[in-house]
């Protein structure tokens, strides 16, 4: 199995190296869909220049990376292209190993259930064969490495790739069952981009499941383990933040990284939902609506945790999708990470209605982004409404896809038995209605 992976890696590295050398690299790096104010390479360079001059990199309003990133590139600036290629490869390998392990677990569970005769007779076609499962990890790696979104993100040297690597390592550590490493990487991911804090719940659920600890509020071991994991997580977070403090000897980075993420002051257009909304809004409403918008990312964790407590890995996938849709500065790199997980649930595709239509919507939207950008910014004939319309369509496409995947996941595996008619639309409907609400408010 290693040979195909190596082949995929080689192809991916070749494509990236070729693109780095081509004239497209500069064009891609400028695209707002690929580089957000948080992770644009230009800003990293600016921060480094300030650091070299002995000025705090956060003294301007340009730089919003964490101190660890700036120190990483302080030493590796010469090899930046290499670093980004390696991080991409590491992400893919980590996902590959994680999914391989996860599949083993799933297979074992499935075998057990078959032996216990727990499955309904008509789910036979849903039971996964080893042959199918054999290729899934490879497909995941392939989906990640050769996804045009990842390639563009890497070519633009968006530090989103590094965040993805950290998250991938976190997933690997969780699936391997190492609570310590999982907590450390989760802390690192939180430190990098704040939103992965919501992945705490699925990770905890998975680890509990692995330890065969029942998830009951009354059981003592449940609380003990939860406290342990939370303590590990918080300790590592504190250590990392203190380390950052000692590196720069100031707390400047807290407002300019996390304040920047939460209060959304930079309204450069991107593929997210924030910029247009806050550009149009009266200033004195913006605090309230910032809260409303930010809650979206965190809020769905609770109902999802209740609903999906038996399927923490799927929960993790949905949570990643929610983050990439609702975060304040999303880029296509974030989308690429959760898209890589789609092959894991390939056995459910036959139940996915409209998956083809949704994929077409996403493809066409991706093509229209640069076209409408050109019409708006260069030709001056279109305006921001055109671009935001496509942003909305893109996000509605994403939401419907995430929702459908989830619905069917529940229908098919909800209680291990297919005919369970779960009225499962419950907790994802708010997502759609909030999108619809923003649609309405924008059109008015």
């Amino acid at each position: 199995m290693a040979a195909p992976l190596v082949l995929v890696v080689l192809v991916a590295v070749t494509v990236r190296a070729a693109l780095y050398r081509s004239s497209l690299a500069a064009f891609i790096a400028e695209r707002v869909e690929v580089a957000s104010p948080l992770n644009a390479w230009k800003r990293v360079v600016e921060g480094l220049a300030l650091l070299d001059l002995g000025v705090s990199p956060y003294s301007g309003a340009i730089f919003h990376e964490t101190p660890l990133i700036i120190y990483l590139f302080h030493f590796l600036i010469e090899y930046a292209e290499l670093v980004f290629m390696i991080t991409d490869v590491l992400t893919a390998v980590a996902l590959y190993l994680a999914i391989q392990d996860y599949n083993k677990v799933v297979f074992k569970k499935q075998k057990l259930l078959i032996e216990l005769d727990k499955y309904a007779p008509d789910v036979a076609e849903l039971i996964r064969t080893p042959m199918e499962m054999h290729y899934i990890p490879l497909k995941v790696a392939l989906f990640y490495l050769l996804n045009p979104y990842t390639v563009m993100s890497c070519v633009a040297k968006s530090t989103c790739a590094i965040n993805n690597t950290v998250i991938a390592f976190f997933i690997l550590a969780t699936i391997k069952g190492s609570a310590f490493l999982s907590a450390v990487f989760l802390a690192l991911a939180t430190y990098q981009s704040l939103y992965p804090i919501t992945l705490f719940a699925p990770a905890l659920l998975y680890l509990l499941q692995r330890q065969f600890i029942p998830i009951k509020p009354k059981s003592k071991s449940f609380w003990l383990y939860t406290m342990q994991y939370a303590a590990l997580y918080l300790c590592s977070l504190v250590v990392i933040i203190c380390l950052s403090f000692f590196l720069l000897n100031s707390w400047d980075f807290i407002p300019s990284v996390y304040g920047f993420i939460l209060s959304v002051p930079d309204l450069t257009p991107n593929i997210g939902l924030f910029w247009y909304f806050f550009a149009e809004m009266f200033e004195h409403f913006s605090l309230f609506f910032v809260c409303v918008f930010q809650i979206n990312v965190f809020f769905y964790t609770i109902p999802l945790a209740v609903k999906l407590k038996e399927h923490p890995v799927f929960f993790m996938f949905v949570q990643l999708a929610i983050i990439s849709i609702f975060k304040s500065y999303p880029t296509v790199g974030d989308v690429a990470l959760y898209m890589a997980f789609l092959p894991v649930w390939s056995h459910l595709y036959r139940f996915l209605r409209n998956i083809f239509i949704l994929s077409c919507v996403l493809i066409v939207c991706s093509l229209l982004f640069p076209v409408l950008w050109h019409l708006w910014i260069y030709a001056g004939s279109a305006n921001s409404n055109f671009y935001y319309a496509i942003t909305l369509t893109f996000n509605i496409g994403q939401v419907s896809r995430a929702r459908q995947t989830r619905l069917h996941f529940e229908d098919c595996t909800g209680s291990g038995v297919l005919p369970a008619t779960v009225n499962s639309a419950g907790c994802v409907w708010p997502i759609q209605s909030s999108i619809a609400a923003s649609c309405l408010s924008c059109s008015s």
Binding site: I357, I363, V364, L368, A382, S400
Partner: protein, 604 residues
Amino acid sequence: MGLLSDPHCRRALSRLVVRLNTPLCVLSYVAGLGWFLAMALPPLAPRTYMSENAMGSTMVEEQFPHGERALAYGRDFAAQKKKAGGIPVAWLEKTMWGLGLEVYKQPFARTLPFPDESRERYMVKGTNIYGILRAPRAASTESLVLSVPCSEGTQNSQAVGLMLALAAYFRGQIYWAKDIIFLVNEHDLLGMEAWLEAYHDVNVTGKMQSSGALGRAGAIQAAVALELSSDVVTSFDVAVEGLNGQLPNLDLVNLFHAFCQKNGLLCTIQGKLQRSDWDTLPAYAHSLQTLLLMVLKQGSGRPQGDHGLFLRYHIEAITVRGINSFRQYKYDMTTVGKTLEGMFRKLNNLLERLHQSYFFYLLPSLSRFVSIGVYMPAFGFLILVLALDLWMQLNKCEAASEPRPGLLALVPPLVVCHAAGLALYLLPVLGQRVATQHFPVSEAEAVVLTVIAIYVAGMALPHSAHRALPGGGSDRGWMTLKLLALLYLAAQLSCAALLNFSLGFLLAATMVPAAAAVRPTGPRPVLAALLVLSTPAVTLLLGIFLHRELEERPAGLAEGWQLFLQALAEGLLQHHLYGALPFPFLALLTYPCWLLLWNVLCWK
């Protein structure tokens, strides 16, 4: 999505779509074309109106008195030009200085990628001369441009004369709040491109050599290009279509129209005078003709006047042409000058860039317009045909019991088709030397003939592509390929329609029926004929005939063919000189997509 998510509804819908697929496709196509034809009717084309406050409510009183002086300047200029054998640089500089303008000249040189036979030029050297009238009431942060081409022979000398007379008059007025640049550009668009690049200090097209412009007058807000070749005019014609089909803000056209009406001048668009009645059949036919002419011109992506390149720099611009034809009423230079004076004074009142009115519109006459919301459904219906057909293919693909062909089987046709497109894009210009060495043709002919040769040769490719396809020759194979081709076509046409509606619509109107109908089974010769008729090259040829027909000077077969060859050379030149997009778009995207459809037809 509710309709599609409910399984019962969905099944019923999909059964309906599958059973009635052909009638629905035909209906949708007819609806698309019908909608387009209806756009010339008054309900869909409301009257134009001035949106910009700064230009709407204020009145100006034009007082330009120097009609005779303009003619005298024009005669002088013609004489000096004849003497100098080109643009009379020294005379123009002296005259402009004399009028109190700041004068600058800008020499430029450009070697064309291959000789332009219709204009007889290859290594072009020229000089642009421009004078800046500094505004007494502002700090040179904004400006307006009046440009006149200095073309071959005695053409446009009256325009230069009028420009100088206007400059002389404008110099004496105190109300200017924007600098005014009076520009004489040589070698029409080439000079304009050189000047614009130098003015904005950019190098868009790469190979233009020019000494940078010395004097600047702030951000240009609007520009008017004037063409005038007679002492009196009977009407004015306005050209709006710019590079890649970009259009100026509708308010600028409205402004021109308003002042023509104020001064009682006749004004035309696409050479068509608007009729006073709206509800009769001939009137409808007339506005439809005007609309079709606009669509053809915009679809060509070619600038229809010297203003065409301004639009790329976010500057609203139109070309105004004085026409002297056999009509009873003639207007002298004073009236023409007053019209221009009025336009400039209103532009001078602008507080911000023209942005209030429409940028996406079609004009069935000067006083009526079709906005983007109205014309997009016509295109939408055509794309709906593709969507319906896609669904049909998808259903068939799902229903077919054969094993799924690997996606790898589709890679050879895709790669071969795109390689053909790339060859079509690159080889003609790169290979012109080789071609002229081996064949008795000139460079320009070599380029055009290579384009045609590669284009036709591409049609033989499916045979070789198939040999590389082991086991791909199943029904599902071609269905998947068709699915891909339809998706590809729909995506690229939607992008094209947003950038240049006319191009997208013309391509959709021709390619969609063939794309929907194509299949390897059934009446092959008919389908092959349909597909060949829908290829972009044939569309271009038909477009040329239609264009001449609408201009009421029909072209014969031989003449049409000559025009076709010229249009090909022109398309390549426009791309290499100004960065026009239709040629690369057709060569790199549409042609490969068409070849994919051809592959489907030749599937074994």
